[in-house]
Symmetry: C2
Subunit: 207 residues, 2 copies
Amino acid sequence: MSAAERAAEESGEWSGVTPDAARRLVSAAVQAFAERGYHATTTRDIAGRAGMSPAALYIHYKTKEELLYRISSTGHEKALRIMGAAAEAGGSATDRLRDAVRAFARWHAEHHTTARVIQYELQALGPDHYAEIAGLRRRTDRLLRQIIQDGADSGEFRVDDVPGTTLAVLSLCVDVARWFSADGPRTPDEVGALYADLVLRMVGGSV
Amino acid sequence: MSAAERAAEESGEWSGVTPDAARRLVSAAVQAFAERGYHATTTRDIAGRAGMSPAALYIHYKTKEELLYRISSTGHEKALRIMGAAAEAGGSATDRLRDAVRAFARWHAEHHTTARVIQYELQALGPDHYAEIAGLRRRTDRLLRQIIQDGADSGEFRVDDVPGTTLAVLSLCVDVARWFSADGPRTPDEVGALYADLVLRMVGGSV
């Protein structure tokens, strides 16, 4: 990741985390986990990246797992809100699915570093935190499944396997975080538009 | 991963690696990298899992990176062979695409632990090894792109963006490795069949 890319991500992504020191720690933790993995990162590494002492880190986060949980819950709540906004916007199932996929894929491109951490380090969460995040994931899945089911019921879509198609659509969008690069040929908006088109084809809808 | 799952993976996946000690080390390294990440794993951890001393490990692999490279090249070569077999089988573009996606998705389900390691730890390879693996990935991509282009040219498919659709199809199959669980509701064969159907829809082909 380039310095410019990092700066762009940092500017807006964690604006809800206060105070400023806590926000810097979350941002530093995301970068460290993405580069080296959760288990290879120490709280000392994270504090150092944030320009703070390990003692200053502990004022805000008691453990490394608490930082991962904060990152994971913030990211998953954002993903759920994106899906919820599309699901509840009204309009045809076609419109809602197009909006949902466009926004969900775009988010995974724009926030690919965070998205990688929250997808690939799930197993490092403690049991209670894991259960809470799994609940957010199930709610996101249900919202998308309902859009697809609505389109199948209304005759807009032809879908043989609603749960399987839901899984594939979510998977397609999530994996954007793995391959997306800000230096690549496509912008997040272009990825969103392409994927909305491909997903409407997958459900047998009108593109 | 359950013990039974691990045993099943180990039995066949690394049969080409000889002698037996080298094969045990590769298998142990895959498990360790998948559980803790490459950077958090030591050669001592790997030797211990294989029931060997660190000194015995060095007879076969000089560095941890050499083990990752062996895992990555074996996995990527297998993925390329799967794609090549489908691409060169003859028949319509529809038949070739169905076979390619079915086999590629199934492989990522069956070998999900290895596939995660080779996808998520790419950046840990040294520059020469990375360049070699990137070459295998480009060849796999080109084979799939050619099938999709053939179908567009013959009128079997309606595709607006061949490179973008190719990227999405590969991504969909690769991400099976992230979510697939042997304890889940679908077998690797069922995932392959579902995905072949969804991808033929994506390219506007006849399911």
